[in-house]
């Protein structure tokens, strides 16, 4: 590590014993970054900030929230009505969860488009998938906490997925509930996990950054960094670019917080949980809908659960399914088309997830599920036969060419 240069003796004293200043400067200031990163590279830093916002708003909500089946619903209403700025904390937290998923989905699609999961960034990608799984668990358990009808029945349906496991399924479900249905013990333990998992998420993000900083960012060309001329220091160039992107993102986020706080929510969740009445139409939060569609597309209980989990877990092996040496879709004509169909298909699955699972919807969901997996399974073959376009010589050359074209 290069030592920080300073005349301040106190800073020096600390830095020789614990090089936090040298370390921050190496990773945030002089940190070498490809010159050509586009706005698709903003989403990681935005996700990090959203995580911090979620943790801070969550901690302050928790100071007034009560994880008991008898009072949880009222305690959330009290937060919104009586606690000073409680409405703001809740709206930030509620919409923050949706924003978090939007940002992370874009971040992930970016990774797929530009082949960022390929060597030597496989572990970086896999840690990302773990973060995603962890986020889903956190959001699911968070949604249970307000103890409305959707909370209760969502929790019932999702935990019952585990009853599909042969032989021990029923025991597992009772074990998860801590009773014979979703009830007081369930909300108590879900609150504990909901508080704990974001801390684990935070640590996973640190490891994600660690892996990132070993081989640095991939870039829109998907080619290796070859010389110092390909790079520029993170600060001030990308600090400013990240801040600018953050500003735009916050405008969107705040629009929902202040003007449409229930846009992503379900009205039924403002009815207190009632274990005797299931609402006529239960849907999960929007960010789970594609997987919900996959679950329902399979007519068999166990089969549906397996295929749905496979849909998430297949992301772990993506680096090995894709055999192409070329990273960016820009230089892979067929992959590029398959990719965009994959994106459209994922959105379509999401739309199907909130439709009844019958008739034409069911058939469409089955076809759509088919494409979801086909995309992954075609990659090993595609990598061998696809004719890719010639790659640029270097990042520096490409940036200079663009600059010249602009000036001319």
């Amino acid at each position: 590590m290069k030592r920080m240069q300073t005349d301040n003796r106190i800073l020096m004293w600390i830095d020789t014993r614990l090089p936090i200043f040298s370390y921050s400067s190496e990773n945030l200031v002089s940190y070498p970054t490809p010159k050509n990163l586009s706005y698709w590279w903003n989403y990681g830093s935005i996700a990090g900030i959203v995580l911090v916002i979620m943790i801070v708003t969550g901690i302050f909500l928790a100071m007034n929230y009560q994880p008991h089946a008898d009072v949880a619903f009222q305690s959330v209403e009290r937060i919104v009505r009586d606690v000073n700025y409680g409405w703001l904390l809740r709206n930030l937290h509620m919409n923050g969860a949706s924003m978090f998923f939007i940002v992370v989905y874009i971040h992930m699609f970016r990774g797929i488009y530009f082949g960022s999961y390929k060597a030597p960034r496989e572990l970086l990608w896999m840690i990302g998938v773990t973060i995603y799984v962890c986020m889903m668990a956190t959001a699911f358990m968070g949604y249970v906490l307000p103890w409305g009808q959707m909370s209760f029945w969502g929790a019932t349906v999702i935990t019952n997925l585990f009853s599909a496991i042969p032989l021990i399924g029923d025991y597992i479900v009772v074990w998860i509930w801590g009773g014979f249905s979703v009830d007081a013990p369930t909300i108590n333990r879900f609150f504990v996990w909901h508080y704990l998992l974001p801390m684990i998420l935070f640590m996973l993000v640190v490891v994600h950054m660690w892996a990132l900083h070993i081989h640095k960012s991939n870039n829109p060309l998907g080619i290796e960094i070859k010389s110092p001329a390909d790079m520029m220091p993170f600060h001030p160039f990308y600090t400013i670019k990240d801040l600018y992107g953050l500003g735009l993102f916050m405008i969107v986020f705040m629009f929902f917080v202040f003007f449409a706080p229930d846009f992503f929510g379900e009205p039924d969740n403002y009815i207190p949980a009632d274990p005797m009445v299931t609402p006529p139409h239960i849907v999960p939060e929007w960010y789970f809908l594609p997987f919900y569609a996959i679950l329902r597309a399979i007519p068999d209980k166990l089969g549906g659960v397996i295929v749905m989990f496979a849909g998430v877990l297949i992301l772990y092996v993506l680096p090995w399914l894709d055999t192409s040496k070329v990273r960016a879709a820009t230089y892979r004509p067929i992959f590029k088309q398959l990719f965009w169909i994959f994106v459209a298909n994922a959105l379509f699955l999401g739309w199907l997830g909130q439709k009844p699972s019958e008739g034409a919807y069911l058939i469409m969901a089955q076809l759509s599920t088919g494409y979801y997996f086909l995309f992954f399974l075609i990659l090993p073959v595609l990598g061998k036969y696809e004719k890719t376009k010639p790659l640029p010589v270097s990042i520096f050359e490409e940036v200079r060419k663009k600059r010249r074209a602009k000036e001319a």
């Binding site: 290069k2 002089s30 070498p32 010159k35 801070v56 302050f60 100071m63 007034n64 009290r78 009505r81 009586d82 606690v83 000073n84 700025y85 409680g86 703001l88 904390l89 110092p228 001329a229 790079m231 520029m232 220091p233 160039f237 520096f396 940036v399 200079r400 600059r403």
Partner: protein, 188 residues
């Protein structure tokens, strides 16, 4: 990778020395505005753990005095703390009023501490470290001055609730209250 040349595609960062001033201006204004923004955003969080509206709504208590005989005392709860209400006898009033102010650690006349002399209303929390003094019930220790005695570290209060002896620095606090009519008060 310590040497990164050419931060911008065709030159160094500051090609033009005049730009230095502009950069400083931008840096300082961005930093100032960001700090102001963070400060403003912090307020809702800080304020959210202040007493909420439903807590404030319970912040006053009405007490009916008609059943309290002369010489008797009752304790009522106000904002989570005991409030001592004592119906003082003529001797107690007399004793409280005739004290030489120079003897008091926290000088205050009895008249400053009551609205109607027969009713002494104080917050029943010792001003030392927050214990509840004894002296409300008949058999209680009332201390050397006939008022209250704090068992924690031995503070003695007189019949006006003033500190007379012991480590407590101040007299028992007087809550805000009003007589709604002759036999009812509203505390808070």
């Amino acid at each position: 990778m310590s040497e990164i040349s050419n931060p911008s595609p065709n030159g160094t960062i500051a090609e033009n020395p005049e730009d230095e001033g502009k950069r400083d201006f931008l840096l300082i204004s961005t930093t100032t505005l960001s700090l102001a923004g963070i400060g403003l955003a912090a307020w809702p969080f800080i304020h959210s753990i202040n007493p909420a509206k439903d807590v404030l709504a319970l912040a006053s208590t009405e007490v009916d005095l008609s059943a309290i005989e002369e010489g008797q005392a009752v304790t009522t709860m106000w904002r989570g703390k005991p409030v001592f209400i004592r119906h003082r006898s003529a001797e107690e009033i007399e004793g409280a009023a005739s004290v030489n102010l120079a003897e008091l650690p926290d000088p205050q006349t009895d008249a400053e501490r009551v609205q109607r002399p027969q009713w002494l209303i104080t917050v029943g929390v010792c001003t030392h470290l927050g214990c509840i003094p004894s002296g409300q019930k008949l058999g209680d220790k009332k201390g050397d001055f006939g008022g209250w005695f704090c068992p924690c570290h031995g503070s003695h209060y007189d019949t006006s609730g003033r500190i007379r002896k012991g480590p407590a620095p101040f007299n028992l606090r007087i809550p805000e209250y009003n007589f709604i009519d002759d036999t009812t008060i509203l505390i808070g």
